[in-house]
């Protein structure tokens, strides 16, 4: 994105530079670049035993907030809770907002938007010429801590994340951006909300512990069933279980999202 914007900046010269610079800052500032690489997912893909290849992409630094989602509804009122088609969002969609276009005390502007369906999240990202991140992209970015691109083998890192799961889900959500950025400059991948991924419906794993590593093969066509590579990484496994249990129109109290963009 930055490269794409640089050329017009040079042509336009100094006069409009401050304005164009602001626009560039808005995009570059909202997303962090994630260099691609080979990655061993917590999921055991039978068809990718040596890991998956993640291409360079950009990921929103923070989850989408209520204020941002409200602005989207202003531009796309068909996604308001009083207008959305039932096939795209269940009845609890944005039910914590005071009104169809009013946030209210249970949905403060700087809190992550939750109670959103996959379809609504996808539409939001599309409206910004972006998309939802794939599961592999999400997991790849979320493997990092403040100093390392892959902190997953560190027991202290795991403990820290699991501490979040111990917190009551009845507590109000904190605002986005409170946690320190990871090595890419991305915040809140752990410790705030669950997040939709573009291919959430590709996660065909039975969340039941007894069946881990032995998915019901009769249910799914073809080889390449998923199993869990790393049963110690509960934090990520719980995400997989959550996403694999939801349909696209479902909404929950802790499910939010952020958007991604492919490298130009």
């Amino acid at each position: 994105m930055r490269a794409r914007l640089a050329a017009p900046l040079l042509v336009l010269g100094l006069v409009v530079l401050p304005l164009a610079g602001l626009a560039a800052g808005a995009v570059a500032g909202r997303y962090a670049g994630i260099p691609g690489g080979q990655f061993k997912s917590v999921l055991g893909y039978e068809d990718a035993k040596n890991g998956v290849r993640v291409k360079t992409f950009a990921l929103m630094r923070k989850p989408v907030t209520n204020a941002e989602f409200l602005a989207f509804l202003g531009r796309h009122p068909e996604w308001r809770r009083d207008r959305v088609a039932g096939v795209f969002a269940e009845s609890r969609y944005l039910s914590h907002w005071a009104g169809p276009d009013t946030l209210g005390p249970n949905a403060l502007p700087d809190r992550p938007v939750v109670w959103v369906s996959w379809f609504a999240a996808e539409a939001y990202c599309k409206s910004l010429d972006a998309r939802l991140p794939t599961w592999n992209e999400w997991e790849y970015a979320a493997a990092a801590d403040e100093t390392r691109v892959d902190a997953r083998s560190d027991p202290a890192w795991r403990e820290r994340i699991l501490g979040w799961y111990a917190r009551s889900s009845k507590d109000a959500l904190p605002r986005v951006g409170l946690q320190s950025p990871n090595v890419y400059g991305v915040q809140d991948l752990h410790g705030l909300v669950w997040e939709w991924t573009e291919d959430a419906s590709s996660l065909m794993v039975d969340g039941d512990n007894r069946n881990q590593g032995d998915p019901d093969k009769g249910k799914f066509c073809g080889a390449g069933a998923l199993s869990m590579n790393d049963r110690e990484n509960y934090a990520v496994l719980m995400r997989v279980a959550m996403l694999s249990s939801l349909e696209g129109r479902d909404a929950t109290a802790n499910m939010g999202f952020r958007c991604a963009r492919s490298a130009p």
Binding site: Y45, D47, A48, D82, V84, A85, G86, V87, F88, W118, F119, E122, E198, D199, S201, S202, L203, M204, K219, F220, C221, G222, A223, G224, A225, L226, S244, E247, G248, R249
Partner: protein, 199 residues
Amino acid sequence: MKQDSMKRLLRGLAATVLLGFAAIAGAAQPAPALPGDSIYQLPLPLTDSNGQTRDWRALRGKPRLVSMFYTSCQYICPLIVESGKAVERQLTPAQQKQLGVALISMDPARDDPAALKKVVEQRKLDAARWTLASPRADDVRAVAGVLGIRYRQLADGEFNHSSALILVDADGRILARTEKIGSQPDPDFVAAVRKAVGG
């Protein structure tokens, strides 16, 4: 709830008034609004085995069995076709005429009209009732979403996917679904199909 039904009533009234005007003006009546829980709420251009591209709303008007498949699949997908045929066999010829079948590809990169046509011919599918079609690549995830079908493309291009036959009414509302795939159809599902086609 009360507000909802009020809104629905008002919307209904508005639609009636509009239809009235259209009738007075002698214009063709517009298709009635889609129910909110219709799968056809999703805009979905489909390219069929004859190379024709139309939004799947063209499938409105009769109850249908809908499923997702891909033509190069060796195992379960031929069974999905077989399941559709098995359900049809449980119907009288008159009932069969009332039912459509739409198989939507999850592999638009390979399932061009020629590939789809090959299946129609090999499987001797009645083109008057069966539609085999591919969506745009960007739409596959969304159509799978409204149908509640899960899939993952594997490194070798094959797919890992859940298999289901879904019965929708003339307006695209899901009436029943079965994951029982094969030549012995689920009796409850067949009963729902019979009911949908009128007896």
